[in-house]
């Protein structure tokens, strides 16, 4: 008998919607690149204190459900323009804790996307150990 498949992590679609709002090009990533993006984020958090990892999960939870009070829908159900407006609201919030929470999530999204060598190549970044020799 096949083992039951693990229930999907509810945070995954929130992360995906968030990353696509922060980096619109992420919308075109294939599953392999999404899986690499998640791996890089997991790796970045792996060695950090458990409390910090917990705060990130909590931040994604709030990100998903806070829009209910403003738009009567969770973050993943918002149209892209509304998602962006909501993130601007967080980024410019008068509470430093909220701004820093957003900054932390944004950092993870950017790490997962631009930390991939393919993304670096796509934006024309091509530094190598060969330096000047690579130009000649």
């Amino acid at each position: 008998m096949a083992a039951p498949s693990p229930s999907p992590d509810p945070i995954v679609p929130v992360v995906r919607a968030f990353v696509c709002t922060v980096v619109p090009e992420a919308d075109a990533l294939n599953e392999e690149r999404w899986s690499e993006l998640r791996r890089l984020i997991d790796l970045a958090l792996r060695d950090r204190p458990a409390a910090l990892r917990h705060r990130f999960r909590l931040a994604f939870f709030f990100l998903q459900w806070l829009p209910l009070f403003r738009y009567a829908r969770p973050f993943t159900a918002l149209a892209p323009a509304r998602r962006a407006r909501f993130l601007s609201f967080l980024e410019n919030n008068s509470l430093q804790t909220v701004r820093i929470g957003f900054f932390g999530l944004r950092t993870l999204a950017l790490l997962g996307y631009y930390g991939q060598p393919q993304a670096a190549a796509e934006i024309g970044y091509a530094a190598t150990a060969r330096g000047w020799d690579a130009l000649r």
Partner: protein, 502 residues
């Protein structure tokens, strides 16, 4: 608990620890002294320096380069590897201004002496000006912009040998060209008989011994295994030199209960908070090829409280440094081959709030708030940078402290109106720091400092500090040569007092 016994234990292998190890190492040969350097980070093989942004950050930086201040508003970047932060700096080699050392007002510490002691390391580490053919356009445009504005950009002396211009200095040079302590002082010390133990984190100092933990190499990690088997160690020493840097040195002393006799422990922390600013030119320029940090502008250090330096970072760090998100943010990243970058550093000074403490688990916690002076200095530096960008021909500039971050050449004449200190918003504006200083400052007595002018910890014979935590206030330049000069002074003190220390 394993036990070991040495004459001298040095904690940390960066600019301070590496210099002390080298300077004391002749004693191993001449008199049979046993000296160990305990380094928390790993020693990487040459072929492991790949230049990959995330993999190298994870391998050679504390917390992968993401160590945050207590409120999360600033990222502190410091190395954790054989060679400490000298593995990840750009090798810029400046001497401190005389006015700074005079302002430090440490009894018996003169600018002339620091300059004289630094000369030795300038020679050893091959400090020189890069020839013009190795200067890329990212740097040349900075010089040109400054010249058009009537400002004088200075060239950084750098400590490289055989630089191929990979631009990857901050990830550890993949060509072994940068002459950090991992390339110069530590190998020399080891040749003379000093033992360097990597992956060895010192947990506490107890009297004349240190408690340390050696960790195993992780399956997916870089670097060689430690020369000691994993486990806990008690290491006896007649003299202990603390060179773990401005975050870990005070934290280690705090964990060890020294605050009872040293009320200034952890105080006086400064860091040169910095912005990375980005501009887009109409054409591709050479930017990720060539040494990334060849020029600086310090003529506003006194009057404006800021220094500008050329720089070139990697995709993720650049993305993180830009304010905002979405299409506009992406558009700058997608212009990477056309980007020019400038680093704005604020010359911060001691603020009573800013200090190093420890949490309940004994981990370091850095408390830092941006004073109004620092915020103003960063904004003044940002405006000056924007002027340089536009004078150099940039089509648009990303200015995170402007009412709207993307500015075009049409905005060049009203930069002073568009940017304001009130738009510097902690938590929104990305700020990082890599020049971490203070926490075990030098001074006269335990009332005003942690050590005396020769790095002796007040009231604790045989315990010394030799790293940037000694700085009693900001050094206002890239700090490694000053650290090495002070470490040289500490090593000399240990040599002179060795008979009494036994």
């Amino acid at each position: 608990m394993n036990t070991r016994s040495y004459d001298i234990v040095i904690i940390g292998s960066g600019a301070g620890g590496g210099a002390v190890a080298q300077e004391l190492s002749p004693l191993c040969r001449a008199t049979g002294l046993r000296i160990a350097v305990l380094e928390k980070g790993p020693k990487l093989r040459d072929d492991e320096f790949t230049g990959g942004e995330l993999e190298m950050s994870r391998a050679v930086y504390e917390d992968g380069g993401g160590f945050l201040t207590a409120d999360g508003a600033m990222t502190l970047a410091f190395g954790s590897a054989y060679g400490g932060s000298t593995v990840v700096y750009t090798g810029t080699s400046l001497l401190p201004p005389a006015r700074v050392i005079e302002h430090w007002n440490v009894p018996g510490l003169m600018h002339e002496e620091i300059t004289r002691r630094a000369q030795k390391f300038i020679q050893q580490n091959n400090v020189h000006l890069l020839e013009d053919t190795l200067i890329n356009e990212n740097n040349k445009l900075f010089v040109e912009g400054c010249r058009k504005l009537g400002w004088r950009a200075e060239q950084f002396p750098v400590n490289v040998k055989g630089c191929r211009g990979s631009s990857l200095c901050n990830l550890g040079c993949p060509n072994q060209a940068k002459q950090g302590t991992n390339r110069v002082q530590l190998p020399r010390a080891e040749q003379n008989g000093v033992e360097v133990v990597t992956r060895c984190e010192v947990l506490r100092i107890e009297g004349k011994s240190v408690l340390a933990r050696v960790t195993e190499k992780s399956a997916d990690g870089k670097g060689e295994p430690s020369s000691w088997p994993p486990g806990d160690y008690r290491i006896q020493a007649k003299a202990i030199v603390l060179s773990a840097g401005a975050v870990h040195s005070p934290a280690l002393l705090l964990r060890s209960g020294f605050e009872r006799t040293l009320p200034r422990l952890g105080r006086g922390f400064t860091s040169h908070p910095a912005f990375i600013l980005v501009a887009e030119h109409p054409r591709p320029i050479t930017n990720f090829v060539g040494h990334p940090k060849s020029f600086y502008l310090d003529q506003f250090a006194e009057s404006g409280g800021f220094i500008l330096e050329t720089c070139m970072y990697f995709p993720f760090v650049t993305a993180k440094s830009l304010a905002g998100f979405g299409a506009e943010h992406s558009s700058f990243l997608r212009a990477f081959p056309r980007l020019q970058m400038i680093l704005v550093l604020a010359c911060d000074h001691i603020d009573e709030h800013n200090h190093v403490s420890i949490d309940s688990a004994g981990r370091p916690v850095v408390h830092y708030r941006f004073t109004p002076e620092v915020a103003q200095a960063l904004v003044r530096g940002a405006i000056a940078s924007a002027k340089i960008f536009f004078a150099a021909g940039a089509a648009r500039v990303h200015l995170p402290v402007a009412s709207s971050p993307t500015l075009t050449a049409a905005d060049a004449s009203r930069l002073d109106d568009l940017a304001a200190a009130c738009r510097f918003v902690p938590g929104k504006t990305a700020v990082s720091a890599a020049h971490l200083q203070g926490g075990c400052g030098m001074g006269r007595s335990a009332r005003d400092s942690v050590t005396d002018s020769r790095g002796r910890v007040h009231g604790h014979p045989g315990l010394f500090v030799a790293d940037a935590s000694l700085f009693p206030n900001s050094v206002e330049i890239n700090p490694y040569l000053t650290i090495m000069a002070l470490a040289d002074r500490v090593a000399e003190t240990i040599r002179e007092e060795w008979q009494a220390l036994q």
